[in-house]
Subunit: 234 residues, 2 copies
């Protein structure tokens, strides 16, 4: 079940810097629906997953739910940040404070921001405006010594966390400045059966990808669906 540690089509050569797939994945805020769903799929694909939470005991309790799926442990967010690659799945409210606190632990790592800045009112979902433009750009400002990638915004946590769902029709848009890191996360996306990871542009174009979650929620409500995106002609 353990994944190969380098990208398969590169095995003829020494792996390029940054292209190694992670052995362990920490998920900050991993006890929420998005974090749990990703934990399930990453663990099933053979990664060692550390679910992080403000409350280490709660993280351990959630991790126990996935004992039969693969290697999933629970820890405080600060310990989950020690993994090879770190996914940020916290609510937007605590995003900046947590990353500021954990910046030293995240130095030199790929940090995958999948935070959706969503608000809801009587008219339904909408994207919350943030000073940096997007959650991912905010992360990049706070973490200049990490490689920030934006991805996994549009996954349905319901489908991800349902063990009966064997395939998910979904392309994961992966945004970032570092091509090797984008490749790593593109490959990580294939841990979700049926999904592809597709480069979606630079971080300055992350705002609309994050905000599009509001449209997908509106679609879900209108059509009683778990809508996802596919990119055609790719």
């Amino acid at each position: 079940m353990r994944r190969p540690s380098t990208i398969e089509h590169m095995t003829d050569d020494a792996p390029a810097a940054g292209t190694q797939l992670p052995g362990s994945i920490g998920i900050l805020g991993g006890t929420g629906p998005q974090g749990r769903g990703l934990a399930r799929r990453f663990a099933a694909a053979g990664y060692q997953v550390v679910i992080g939470s403000r409350d280490a005991e709660r993280a351990a309790a959630v991790a126990a739910d996935y004992a039969a799926v693969g290697s999933v442990t629970g820890a405080a967010n600060a310990d989950a940040a020690g993994a090879d690659l770190v996914v940020v799945a916290v609510p937007y409210d605590g995003h900046a404070a947590l990353l500021t606190e954990l910046a030293p632990k995240l130095t030199g790592k790929i940090v995958v921001d999948c935070v959706n800045r969503m608000g809801f009112d009587k008219q339904g979902p909408y994207a919350i405006a943030v000073p940096a433009g997007s959650s991912a750009q905010e992360a990049a400002e706070i973490l200049p010594d990490s490689t920030v990638i934006a991805a996994f915004h549009h996954v349905s946590s319901t489908l991800l966390d349902d063990p009966e769902v064997e395939q998910i029709e979904l392309d994961v848009l992966v945004l970032g400045e570092d091509r090797a890191a984008v490749e790593v996360v593109n490959r990580l996306a294939t841990a979700i059966p049926g999904a592809r990871g597709i480069y979606g542009g630079r971080l300055r174009n992350a705002a609309q990808v994050e905000a599009l979650t509001a449209n997908l929620i509106a679609i879900n409500r209108r059509y009683k669906a778990h809508a996802g995106l596919r990119i055609t002609d790719v």
Copy 2:
């Protein structure tokens, strides 16, 4: 070739207000690539298309290119605005001024805004920020007596305007407040063979749909594609 004038599944009853498909479609800025591509597909589906331009002679010359496809004429934008339904396909630069000038002619009509607010620099495409939040919201502010719908942002003008392309893998996201008008534009989208029109949320969620064009351009450049969107599970 003439389309039925009411939505088929409603033929048992009198048509609800606003659900009638248009007989004629005016395309403001219709001599540009997006406008030409839409003109081709709308005309092929049996609509009477009026290509609008600042320069009526230029509009007539472009319309002549589509004489074999269907009913396509050229006119000044002010005359194209007299059609049953009006599509706005101008560059963002002239958007507000043109709609302000034509507001009286657009009263009571469905106005479909498909303007992409795009800029390009050395790093590639990006979305231009606008005070109203989106081009569609700007149109709605300028045209309080029209029914503004946002749609057709992600169509590849290259594929649309290529007569050899018989099917386009594409869902057209259709945003607006008025459900009947959304339905009309959903149906209009099916003039593009292979395409579906799908409700994509309220106009306040149009900004990210417009801006996502930058991501699709980035995808096109990386993968040498004419990328489009499909919404899964709908």
